[in-house]
């Protein structure tokens, strides 16, 4: 790695100064003249049918320009989420929208609208709708997900026989898979654990609500949205609005956090777009915090069961997992499916069965949240690994290391290969740096009212994709313009991955510009900024685009200076003769020549395998300089995954139930480290969210009325400065992944799960081996456990 000039080095991302001066523009910061404002009328009930809407009084109000209802919109195909609805499926769902000259008028117009809603039965706890004769969350089904059709599944009374004793009903699953012989695996086991568990649903709490502003010009829609992805969002928005992708200019230069909730788009940003079309004026829809808690997405909660067989040394011989996912009323996200895959990888069970069902509920729509599936399942299961270690007398790092995948690890029902895993190395590195062995003596020690606990947790996530495009441009000004269709939600990976192109071309970074955040600026088809994939995926695309540019530079130099392309090398803004570096062309000269040559050199002729979005972008740049453009068709064997092992020391106050995290260290395997400082922010930031997941954040619902109680930051409790350690530590294995040209893999998701798992394991350790089988573990639960009192909820109860 020593040979890299840019990769692995810290730098200041170009958007940073804008972020500290207030100049960075988010969706709400744009103001075209004549802009209208939108207010939404939202459902007061968790499930109802619209009988009548009377908008006359609203339309009579001076300043009201338009009202949009579900009747004005094309029908959606269930379980697809609509923009507006006549059958609200959760409290707070948008029913109609009013556009007016100012927000106060729009709000008053909403107040003046009369609606007549017929209340319908609703479902908050997934088990309720699975019961025979149980209520249905929507009139056309109670089970659905991506690639799982909307259907009705009811279980039998027998399935529910043990539910009052806390036994998870496990009727017919919607999906299942198995590899190996689990019965044989359990027979081999020296210890079998059988556990039920509950993980919470929780909101994303992005600091920027999903505000959107739209206007039309020359038949094109200009949409300013809050999105984790830029070019990837285009087909979805176009489909939502029934327009050609070429008719859309999507602008999302800065996004105030997303964490999955703004990854691949959402229907609500269509509302200002349609109202803008209807009124012929720019329309701003400022989304409130309260609305963000309604349609701003949430992680699905689980009610689950797991049976794990362990050999004496701790090796997992067989694992049987059942997950019931609370999916909200729409398509949701396949967390439950991803959890099965994750477990198969992280513990490498010799045999495994996974069963799952995604149950619709009248709660806010679910979407992916940082490590959707892998994270909540390891947080649920990691304490059971500790429990087994305790029973078997095995060290807790050793048991994880024994089961952890190495480069030969297998994943999923097909037991496919992975590109690399240095999870064992991460555990070793962490254990050494954290003084794990020595710290064991502190376990359970008392300091006044406080008990010390030590914990380790591991987590994984898929870490890369393939098949996207790269696009670079060298202009006659001698600069390298790296076009990126990635989003910018704060990971800075749009910038770090762009440096790959500069590295390949030997271009000094101060002569490079990143062009991003606006599809009007000709950005290529890039992966969504989700699922820890950007670092892997976009280093590959920038690599192939830069290699294409390098080849063209060599060819141009060969033509100009009479030689063969192979005689030339590139570096420091020049293409030069290998044998005599004084002979060559500057990039500026080469760009001029590319323009004169035309054809493939300046973007007039393009590779046939490009995505139409990239082809349009490259055509937009044609004639401006030397265009490097290519689709990532680099070979890959196996699925890329990223890993994190986190170590913590906590103090649990047995008089208040308060948990203080005194020390923490997250060690990751993300392949080659490409931007150390930013990597650290991902490890720590994910860790902070993990602390919230482990100890505080959850949905609470009034089960009688189906209304959320956690609709404020102060009730939903994302961590503050005072909830996290003052000095969080991090490290990385820093070994290259063999299937990425610079060895990089993503890392965004696993630090959350690893931290949450480590914290819960440490709390249980402080309590001498009390396991809660539930997340989050809150102060009252700790107090009840410490005082040997029953908990205030039943084992399978959710949203409490």
């Amino acid at each position: 790695m020593a040979s890299y000039k840019l990769i692995g080095k810290d730098f200041t991302p170009p958007d940073l100064v804008g972020k500290v001066t207030g100049k960075a523009k988010f969706a709400e910061d744009f103001r075209p003249a004549g802009m209208l404002f939108v207010k939404l009328l939202r459902s007061p009930m968790p499930h109802a049918k619209m009988r009548k809407i009377d908008t006359r009084n609203a339309l009579a109000l001076k300043g009201v320009v338009a009202v949009l209802t579900a009747d004005d919109l094309p029908k959606t195909h269930p379980p697809e989420e609509p923009m507006l609805t006549n059958e609200p499926l959760y409290a707070g769902e948008p029913i109609l929208a009013v556009a007016a000259v100012d927000e106060t008028t729009a709000a008053e117009a909403v107040e003046r609208i009369k609606i007549d809603l017929q209340p319908l039965p609703f479902v908050i706890d997934p088990l309720e709708t699975l019961r025979p004769g149980g209520p249905d969350p929507r009139s056309d089904g109670n089970v659905a997900n991506r690639e799982l059709k909307l259907q009705t599944i009811k279980w039998t009374a027998r399935d529910f026989a043990g539910v009052n004793q806390g036994k998870l009903p496990m009727g017919k699953p919607a999906e299942e898979w198995q590899y190996g012989d689990i019965e044989a695996g359990f027979k081999q086991a020296d210890l079998i654990l059988e556990e039920t568990f509950v993980t919470q649903a929780l909101s994303h709490h992005s600091m920027e609500p999903r505000t959107a502003m739209a206007y039309w010009q020359n038949g094109k829609l200009y949409l300013h949205g809050s999105s984790q992805s830029v070019s990837f969002a285009v087909p979805g928005i176009a489909k939502l609005l029934g327009i050609d992708p070429a008719q859309l200019v999507f602008i999302s230069e800065n996004t105030g956090g997303g964490f999955g909730s703004k990854g691949t788009g959402y229907p609500q940003w269509g509302i200002p777009a349609i109202l803008a079309k209807k009124t012929g004026r720019p329309v701003m829809m400022r989304v409130t915090r309260d609305e963000e808690y309604a349609f701003g997405r949430a992680r699905p909660g689980y009610q689950g069961w797991v049976k794990i067989g362990f050999r004496k040394d701790g090796r997992v011989t067989a694992l049987d997992l059942y997950i019931i996912q609370s999916n909200g009323p729409y398509e949701g996200f396949p967390d439950f499916r991803n959890s099965g895959t994750a477990v198969s990888l992280v513990y490498q069970p010799m045999a495994m069965r996974w069963r799952g069902i995604s149950v619709l509920t009248n709660t806010p729509p679910r979407g992916p949240q940082r490590g959707p599936g892998p994270n909540q399942i390891v947080v649920a299961i990691e304490p059971f690994i500790d429990k087994a270690a305790r029973k078997l007398g095995v060290d807790r790092v050793a048991i994880r290391r024994l089961n952890a995948p190495n480069n030969n690890g297998k994943v999923g029902p097909k037991q496919g290969p992975i590109t690399s895993s240095y999870l064992p190395e991460a555990l070793d590195k962490g254990a050494a740096r954290f003084n794990w062995a020595k710290k064991q003596a502190l376990s359970g020690q008392r300091k006044g009212s406080k008990a010390i606990g030590i914990g380790v947790g591991i987590a994984i996530h898929g870490a890369g994709r393939t098949g996207f495009d790269g696009l670079v441009l060298i202009k006659p000004d001698g600069k390298l313009y790296i076009h990126s269709g990635a989003g910018n939600l704060g990971t800075f990976s749009y910038a770090a991955t762009s440096r790959t192109a500069a590295e390949v071309l030997g271009m000094p970074w101060d002569r490079c510009e990143i062009v991003a955040g606006d599809t009007g600026k000709n950005v290529p088809w890039n992966s969504p900024q989700v699922g820890s994939n950007t670092s892997f995926t976009l280093t590959r695309t920038n690599y192939v685009a830069a290699v294409d540019a390098r080849k063209k530079l060599q060819e141009i130099a060969a033509k100009a200076l009479n030689g063969s392309p192979d005689d030339f090398d590139v570096g420091n803004g020049r293409v030069f003769l290998k044998s005599d570096s004084s002979k060559g062309l500057s990039f500026a000269e080469a760009a001029e020549r590319a323009i004169k040559l035309g054809g493939k050199y300046s973007g007039q002729e393009l590779p046939k395998d490009l995505n139409p979005i990239t082809a349009r972008a490259a055509t937009g740049l044609a004639g401006q300089g030397l265009v490097g453009v290519a689709k990532d068709t680099l070979p890959i064997k196996g699925a890329p995954f990223a890993f994190c092992a986190t170590f913590v020391q906590v103090e649990v106050d047995l008089e208040t139930g308060h948990v203080e995290i005194k020390e923490c260290l997250g060690v990751v395997d993300c392949g080659t480290v490409i931007h150390p400082k930013s990597l650290a922010t991902q490890i720590m930031g994910g860790g902070v969210q993990g602390i919230g997941f482990a100890l505080a954040e959850k949905h609470v619902f009034d089960s009688k009325f189906g209304l959320a109680a956690t609709k404020g930051l102060y009730t939903a409790k994302p961590p503050t400065y005072l909830d996290v350690p003052l000095d969080m530590q991090w490290d990385a294995v820093n070994k290259p992944d063999p299937h990425n040209p610079i060895g990089a893999k993503g890392i965004g998701e696993p630090p959350l799960g690893a931290m949450a798992a480590a914290v819960l394991c440490a709390v249980s350790d402080a309590l001498g081996g009390i396991y809660f089988n539930r997340t989050p573990v809150t102060c009252d639960m700790i107090l009840n456990a410490a005082e040997k009192k029953p908990q205030s909820f039943k084992p399978l109860e959710v949203n409490v």
Partner: protein, 207 residues
């Protein structure tokens, strides 16, 4: 420090200079005035009636006097963002939970979403736009936030920086724990707390 008018700026008497500045300000903001607020409502308030407030007020923002037409229920965050064009102040919740809208009022950090504009007519208001020098030179706290890569998404950053500036005015050499306490009203969902604390400590070192 305060850019007060030498001719004396008191309620009810508008100096010539202020009048001209008011014209300039209203010219600048003409395209955004009235977007969020019902046009004409403020004009209907009868001066002298109970609850009535002055409509056309002078605010001291970032060292400049700004004339602005406000409603009695208008919050400072809305005035700053929608009438004065100072969009660096972010609205994360609009109900005093997140701290993204933190500005300094007489050097005290306040949630501008929960301050009524008419209550700060005589105060000195500083927003994120008022920290850097006229030449664009970053304030030491801004520079520290850049050097430490403190922002992630950047939405809470203006608020974090304003709280830091306020802290360092009253406690130039805080401990890390004191800094955490002082900034604890500023949420950051990216969880960049440690890096923000690094920035606070770096800024304290250089200032």
């Amino acid at each position: 420090m305060e850019n007060s008018d030498k001719n004396g700026d008191t309620h009810g008497s508008i100096s010539r200079r202020d009048f001209i500045k008011g014209i300039i300000a209203s010219g600048v903001t003409v395209s955004s005035v009235g977007y969020l607020f019902r046009a004409g409502e403020a004009a209907q308030v009868q001066p002298g009636l109970p609850g009535a407030v002055e409509r056309l007020v002078t605010l001291t923002v970032n060292g400049q006097k700004r004339r602005v037409d406000i409603m009695k229920q208008e919050t400072l965050a809305m005035t700053l963002r929608y009438k004065l064009g100072l969009t660096g102040t972010k609205l994360g919740c609009d109900r005093a939970e997140c701290g993204n809208c933190t500005v300094l009022i007489d050097d005290v950090p306040r949630y501008s979403c929960s301050v009524l504009t008419h209550t700060v007519r005589n105060a000195k208001i500083t927003t994120i736009e008022g920290l850097a020098g006229a030449d664009g030179k970053l304030h030491p706290v801004q520079k520290a936030f850049v050097d430490e890569l403190a922002p992630q998404c950047g939405f809470c950053t203006p608020g974090q920086i304003m709280s830091t500036v306020a802290l360092l005015k009253i406690n130039p050499k805080p401990t890390r724990a004191q800094a955490a306490e002082a900034l604890s009203g500023n949420l950051c969902r990216c969880g960049a707390y440690n890096y923000s604390l690094n920035a606070v400590m770096r800024a304290a070192e250089v200032s």
